[in-house]
């Protein structure tokens, strides 16, 4: 790389440059994804002359201030040439480009460090990948260990992570991918049936998050129990079945299962509300006065119940009294006879 490019890198950082045949070098940055989509739409809409939009992109992306200020005096083709490069390097030009770009990114993902970043973000959703990439190595390892611990505790992974060199051939990789796909489908099928059976509604955002997180980090994941075959019209999935599959649930799914359980356990306290929901009416939250009146009514009812219970106990005791007295009298007589025999 020649000195001029080294100088540009020192001035502007990790950016692109277009070297024109005249020898001029123009440094520029690519558009962000949002900007790329916006300008692609503007070029397609034909609302403004193409040259206007090209000037805007040139002004936005070219890092040489002097060139941007004298844009009107430049040769007309320089701006169009540089902008066409910017558009090519800022986004895909076709679906094929998109697939190719994704394939290249998948190859980059083979680096174990990217897996660690994904794992940290999965365990700590408040972290964005950009924040993790700014960490130094020591902090990254600390967070990775914390993430690993959390994922083991929540059952998302079974054992600590150990990275191995990728020596599998293409065929082996394909087989591993197929096996993992079958396991994921079996887990998801079981989970969906359980949700359906229990009447649990999973929000669409969680379904999408589950799809995005479906890429497994460990290649030697233990195989889950097989999905039971249909024996009749309905398949009943027992609690023990779902507990076997709990280890494959994400933390969010376990949250949902726990919430449903808590709701069931505390249903007795919210009977009135649950009845209103079942009838399909709107839920009316009682005022403090109404609640106080209801509490006093309950207190009075409980007091009456207690009085009744005590009365009943007293009557039962009264009914048992002659029997008790008889038993005592018999015991006294037996004792007296025994004493008399001893004399």
């Amino acid at each position: 790389m020649d000195e001029h490019l080294l100088y540009l890198r020192k001035e502007h950082g990790d950016v692109f440059a277009t070297r024109l045949p005249t020898g001029q070098t123009i440094p520029w940055r690519p558009l962000t994804t949002g900007e790329y989509l916006k300008y692609t739409a503007m070029f397609r809409n034909d609302q403004y002359p193409r040259a206007f939009i090209e000037d805007e992109v040139f002004t936005l992306c070219v890092l040489d201030g002097a060139l941007v200020r004298s844009i009107g005096k430049l040769k007309a083709g320089i701006v169009s040439t540089v902008v066409s490069s910017i558009m090519v390097f800022s986004g895909p030009q076709s679906l094929e480009d998109l697939n190719t770009g994704l394939h290249i990114a998948r190859q980059q993902m083979h680096d174990a460090m990217h897996d660690l970043v994904s794992m940290i973000c999965m365990a700590f959703p408040a972290y964005k990948p950009e924040e993790v990439y700014t960490m130094d190595y020591r902090n990254l390892m600390l967070r990775a260990a914390q993430a690993e611990k959390k994922l083991i505790q929540t059952g998302f992974i079974d054992e600590p992570i150990f990275f191995e060199p990728r020596e599998a051939t293409i065929e082996q990789k394909r087989q591993i991918d197929e096996q993992q796909q079958k396991r994921r489908e079996a887990n998801q099928d079981m989970l969906n049936k359980y949700y359906e059976q229990e009447g649990i509604h999973v929000p669409d955002s969680l379904k999408r998050a589950r799809k995005e997180a479906s890429r497994e980090l460990i290649t030697d994941h233990p195989a889950p129990p097989p999905v039971p075959e249909h024996t009749g019209e309905t398949t009943v999935i027992s609690k023990s079945d779902i507990m076997e599959h709990e280890s494959f649930m994400s933390g969010h799914e376990q949250d949902i299962v726990n919430k449903v359980q808590v709701t069931k356990d505390t249903a007795q306290f919210y009977t009135g509300y649950l009845d209103e929901l079942k009838e399909g009416g709107t839920l009316r939250i009682k005022t403090p006065e109404e609640r106080k009146a209801a509490a006093e009514a309950r207190m009075e009812a409980n007091r009456q119940k207690l009085i009744e219970r005590r009365k009943k106990a007293l009557e039962d005791a009264k009914a048992e009294l002659p029997q008790l007295l008889k038993v005592r009298e018999d015991a006294r007589r037996r004792k007296a006879k025994k004493a008399a025999r001893k004399r």
């Binding site: 790389m1 490019l5 540009l8 890198r9 502007h12 950082g13 990790d14 950016v15 692109f16 440059a17 277009t18 070297r19 024109l20 045949p21 005249t22 070098t25 440094p27 403004y48 002359p49 193409r50 040259a51 206007f52 000037d55 844009i71 009107g72 005096k73 430049l74 040769k75 007309a76 083709g77 320089i78 701006v79 169009s80 040439t81 066409s84 490069s85 090519v88 390097f89």
Partner: protein, 155 residues
């Protein structure tokens, strides 16, 4: 040795003449564009060409034939943008602006001088405007998208 076949006397040319021919070729090479242009009436002289270079950055000469000469300059970004704005304005008014109209505008803006035969060719030969338009765009650094991507370097 003299060949007596026919009337042509084929003798080896005298060696003393060779350096003179080489000098003649060298003198021809030293001729500038202005020297060639001097053959045409009203052609720009060297000071004027230098002035154009100072004003427009470049001055180029294109010869579609020996007598059809044109001197032109690259089109600037501002002129190009104004031209596109003009085209869109016309289209919004409902007036059709064809590619040929655009070519004519560009050529009229950028051609600084044309030989008399060249001026005549503009109206008599259909491809003159298109050819000049293409040359002007090339001189203005308009390039093929595929070629352009090869010019990009990641710093």
């Amino acid at each position: 040795m003299t060949d007596t076949l026919g009337a042509v006397d084929l003798k080896a040319p005298p060696q003393a003449d060779e350096p003179q021919e080489e000098k003649k070729e060298e003198k021809e090479k030293e001729k500038t564009l202005a020297d060639y242009l001097a053959a045409f009436e009203g052609a720009p002289d060297e000071p004027l060409i230098e002035k154009w270079k100072q004003e427009f950055g470049e001055a180029l000469c294109s010869g579609l034939s020996e007598t059809e000469l044109y001197i032109f300059r690259p089109i600037s970004r501002e002129e190009f943008v104004n031209l596109q704005a003009y085209v869109q304005q016309m289209q919004q008014k409902g007036e059709e602006v064809s590619n040929f109209d655009v070519e004519v505008k560009v050529v009229e803006t950028c051609v600084l001088w044309a030989s008399p035969q060249g001026v005549s060719s503009l109206s008599k030969k259909a491809g003159t405007y298109a050819t000049l338009h293409e040359q002007i765009l090339q001189a203005s650094n308009f390039m093929n998208a595929a070629y352009v991507s090869q010019l990009v370097v990641k710093l």
